[in-house]
Assembly symmetry: C2
Amino acid sequence: MNNPTMHRIPPCSARAVELETGDELVIVDPEGQQVSDLVAFSRDDLAEYLSSGRSIDYAAKLWLSTGDLLYSNRSRPMFEIVDDTCGRHDFTLTPCSKDTFSIIYGETENRPGCEGNLVSALEPYGITTDRIPIAFNVFMHVAFDPDTGAVAVKPPLSKPGDRIRLRALMPLVAAMTACSAGQSNNFRYKPIDFAVERAG
Amino acid sequence: MNNPTMHRIPPCSARAVELETGDELVIVDPEGQQVSDLVAFSRDDLAEYLSSGRSIDYAAKLWLSTGDLLYSNRSRPMFEIVDDTCGRHDFTLTPCSKDTFSIIYGETENRPGCEGNLVSALEPYGITTDRIPIAFNVFMHVAFDPDTGAVAVKPPLSKPGDRIRLRALMPLVAAMTACSAGQSNNFRYKPIDFAVERAG
């Protein structure tokens, strides 16, 4: 592996990257308690996307970490998590959006949220809003009450410098955010850093 | 409401129905311990579909029941659950498929599963396999360990005659199955019954 450049995703925005098989995407929480919503699509056929439902079913657990595979809707492995210093991420909720802010927070500013920012980042690939699925919400801390099923969005467990490393298992276009939802990041809208370590 | 006809979905198959705003779809487990995977699309624009991530986020709970709304990916209410005699359904897992059977069960028969059966039922609407999302898995009993996130698929809590009643809040095409996955229905592949009570 070469020594990769670290890139910064400014608060409340998103970036897309192309990955080849074997490339490793490293997502870093530089200041702690920030979330990065990650989506991915197969570059061979953009109709194939990262699927929470398939990944949770095959892993038989809600919270995926080192050694786990992230599957596509076509049941093919897209990523392997090869390192994870945080250990807690969410894979059940859709990216925040202007409607999320309206319905949950009563906001009226029409901020694009992670959904709109992902669409902007993926615009060169023709990925429209309707095709943004449930994201792999890196560092997002969602707890469930086992008796009632109640969902609680808590401050992330990530500390400054915590990172997750994902190895691409097929040619992908991935996009990730510095999250715009106050509840997800303890109402401190911070940046996210990432690097791509090329396999070649 | 008129006195609706009850229709039977044979084991390991699916049916589609068109609903107008205000129509009520009643899904019945006639023998108990059977699951029905439900998906829905807006008839005004089939790119709008029933979204687990949106619904769980807005309800702030994993397990939806009487009084809860099921939202689309565009954050519009598609259904209201107006009655529910079972009270436990899943909204986290994708429909079983030939790949599910291969990966989880080691099966080699290439049975279509709920995914393939939903695609067959929705063929007149041009809904292809890639567009089958996480379903609202009626009567499916999925438990989560609050400490580890481990997922356990258990026999449904539904007893013979248990039913859920969903009111359509926009013109919809919905499709539902009699589930093909052994783990979901305690390895007894039973039928599902349904009726549509027209608002008019």
